[in-house]
């Protein structure tokens, strides 16, 4: 519990650190200026910040007494007493019971089958989405970077080996590999939780990025600046990480941004296949999975499905818009 609460805060700190550090480079400072000029992108950034801050607030919690489980800030502000059963958004009475009951509170997004406030559940999903989205990237990026750069820089048998490994991993359909990894971890006594899912997703998703990094490193390996460094006697490790790596950063950051939205979508799919986030943890995938049978009711219960899927849509859309804009801003070829 403590660890998984620390993760969002660490993630936010790392991202902020990277963004501020990158801002000192002229290329990125220029890119930032371009991004901030675009109103559409600004809206996307503000919405993303909103989701992230909900996730962070949902990670800071304390308990009043020893026996009480810790309540996060979001819990304290938005958690409501459960109602008896379904109720429509803004309704005053429950729905689908023989005798309708008055609701204790107002629920702007209605309540679900066991009477929980849907708005509160949607907010709880932010933290899960943030962890799955970013932690997976933080796991897969170093893997991809290390292997991709080693393969591209040293070539020969290192390259052959890395290529063999990623071709093998790539040939296994990612969903099945993911299940295999999760099941193996479960057999080893690792209860399926957010961190385990991120590890499995990270291990299955580094291949594409690795291929990209390898290709880019190959391109840079024989450039003059690398040759000059080698002639001056700079060590291989230093050439790779001090000289070549900064040139790969733009691609890395863009791929990572777009990867986050892929991960958030992957969470909903995995959860639907019952191999994702376990039911106890609030997530949008869980909400969609729980709501899918309820659309067939008369009258249809549409609000929890709509709330969860629009949360996914809005967040992923913002990431996609931001990622695209970032690509346009960073890629010098696109500048007039």
């Amino acid at each position: 519990m403590f660890l998984s609460n620390l993760i969002p805060i660490v993630i936010v700190a790392v991202i902020a650190g990277v963004l501020i550090r990158a801002g000192r480079e002229p290329l990125w400072a220029e890119a930032y200026r371009r991004l901030f000029k675009d109103r559409q992108v600004m809206v996307a950034i503000v919405i993303m910040m909103l989701f992230v801050s909900v996730a962070v607030l949902d990670s800071i919690g304390w308990s009043k007494s020893k026996s009480e489980t810790p309540q996060t800030i979001i819990d304290r502000v938005f958690k409501m007493e459960p109602e008896r059963t379904y109720s429509a958004p803004m309704a005053t009475e429950t729905m689908g019971e023989p005798h309708l009951h008055k609701l204790k509170h107002k629920h702007i997004f209605g309540t679900d089958g066991v009477g929980n406030d849907v708005f509160y559940l949607t907010l709880k999903g932010c933290r899960t989405a943030l962890i799955i989205g970013f932690l997976t990237q933080l796991i897969s990026m170093p893997l991809a970077l290390l292997f991709g750069m080693l393969a591209g820089y040293f070539g020969k048998f290192v390259d052959d080996f890395v290529q063999y490994v990623y071709t093998v991993l790539d040939s296994i359909p990612s969903v099945l590999l993911l299940i295999a990894i999760l099941m193996a971890m479960e057999m080893r006594g690792q209860e399926r939780g957010l961190v385990q899912i991120c590890i499995a997703l990270g291990v299955t998703s580094w291949v594409g990025l690795c291929r990209l990094v390898r290709g880019e490193t190959l391109k840079h390996r024989d450039r003059d600046y690398v040759r000059a460094a080698r002639a001056l006697g700079v060590s291989h490790g230093r050439i790779m990480f001090r000289h070549i790596l900064p040139n790969l950063l733009p691609i890395l950051i863009i791929t990572a941004t777009l990867g986050v939205s892929g991960n958030i979508i992957a969470e909903t799919i995995l959860t639907y296949l019952q191999i994702g986030v376990p039911p106890g943890i609030g997530s949008w995938g869980n909400m969609i999975d729980a709501a899918r049978m309820e659309l067939a009711r008369q009258p249809a219960v549409w609000w929890n499905f709509t709330a969860a899927s629009s949360a996914v849509l809005i967040l992923v859309l913002c990431f996609n818009i931001f990622g695209d804009a970032l690509r346009d801003a960073v890629d010098p070829r696109l500048r007039s």
Binding site: Y164, L176, T268, I288, L313, N320
Partner: protein, 313 residues
């Protein structure tokens, strides 16, 4: 070219061995035989005798390298054995699943390819106008919606509100089209945004080439330029992206088959996943891997058809 295909096929053998090794490590080395026996025996508290009998029966008492060899041999001969959970013959079950899976897979693949290419060309034709920007907006929004929502949405709108086609189930035979249309529509829509956007950039990259200008200068209609001249030249990135899309097709088949109750291989896999049926998962993983590798080989061959300048050595 035949020689190349043969060599390429031979190259895929080490890959397949690697795949069996990875799955072997994940499934066999991560859990002890005792755990597996306990997991798979139906009785609640199996006696040690029962457990040992199970281990012996499944060959888990042999040394690991021999187990690996046996495992590889059984996969390569398509002898998948019996399901851990139901005891059914896996090959038999998979054979039954091939027809529905192929039907829906082929339909989804061809229909979505035609739709996506058509719309990509259409948006490229109207490049720079409001049609194009509207199309791009639709694509970005479409990309941002999860496949699960598309599937549920299609089922709800077409199946429950419009009552056009049955929402789940499958019958072998001529009436099967009724059960396949709805899943196929869901599949087409869910891949629409990403693919159209990608294909559009492929076409726009070609559109400023000299041969396009020449074609326009000699008075060829713009639609003919796009569909005949440009499309043919943009074929290479198209083919690449289609192959890269095969894994997504497989994921899609898992989701769609299980959601619409189509008894294909994807559905079998999902059931096995949920019931922790290791031997079935191993079999389907191997099968899907072969499918992927065959797809990759076919792409390379397709390159030579698309562009005669490419010679495969």
């Amino acid at each position: 070219m035949l020689w190349y295909t043969i060599r390429r096929t031979l190259y895929s053998i080490p890959i397949l061995i690697g795949v069996t090794f990875v799955t072997f490590v994940l499934f066999f080395l991560s859990s002890t035989p005792q755990q597996m026996a306990r997991h798979n025996l139906t009785s609640k508290n199996p006696t040690p005798v029962q457990i040992n009998a199970w281990i012996k029966q499944h060959g888990y008492d042999k040394p690991k390298p021999i187990q690996f060899l046996n495992y590889t041999k059984s996969l390569f001969t398509f002898n998948f054995g019996k399901s851990d959970v139901t005891g059914q013959d896996i090959s038999e079950r998979l054979r039954k699943g091939v027809v529905p899976s192929t039907e829906i897979g082929v339909l989804m693949f061809t229909a979505s390819l035609i739709t996506n290419v058509f719309f990509a060309v259409y948006f490229a034709y109207y490049r720079g106008t409001y049609v194009d920007s509207f199309g791009r907006l639709i694509c970005v929004i479409g990309m941002s919606i999860t496949q699960v929502v598309y599937i549920i949405g299609a089922q709800y709108v077409i199946g429950i509100i419009l009552k056009l086609w049955p929402i789940t189930g499958y019958h072998i035979g001529l009436t099967s089209w009724k059960f396949v249309v709805l899943p196929a529509i869901a599949g087409i829509i869910s891949g629409f945004g990403g693919s159209v956007r990608l294909y559009r950039t492929f076409i726009l990259e070609e559109i400023n080439q000299d041969y396009v200008r020449t074609a326009r200068a000699k008075g060829v209609k713009e639609s003919k330029v796009l569909f005949q001249h440009v499309l043919k030249n943009a074929a290479i990135p198209f083919i690449t992206s289609i192959v890269l899309g095969i894994p997504f097709l497989i994921t899609g088949s898992l989701l769609i088959e299980s959601f619409f109750g189509i008894p294909g291989i994807g559905n079998i896999t999902v059931e096995a996943m949920q019931g922790q049926d290791f031997s079935t998962i191993r079999a389907t993983t191997f099968l899907f891997t072969i499918l992927y590798i065959v797809g990759a080989i076919m792409t390379d061959v397709a390159y030579t058809f698309a562009d005669p300048r490419i010679r495969l050595e």
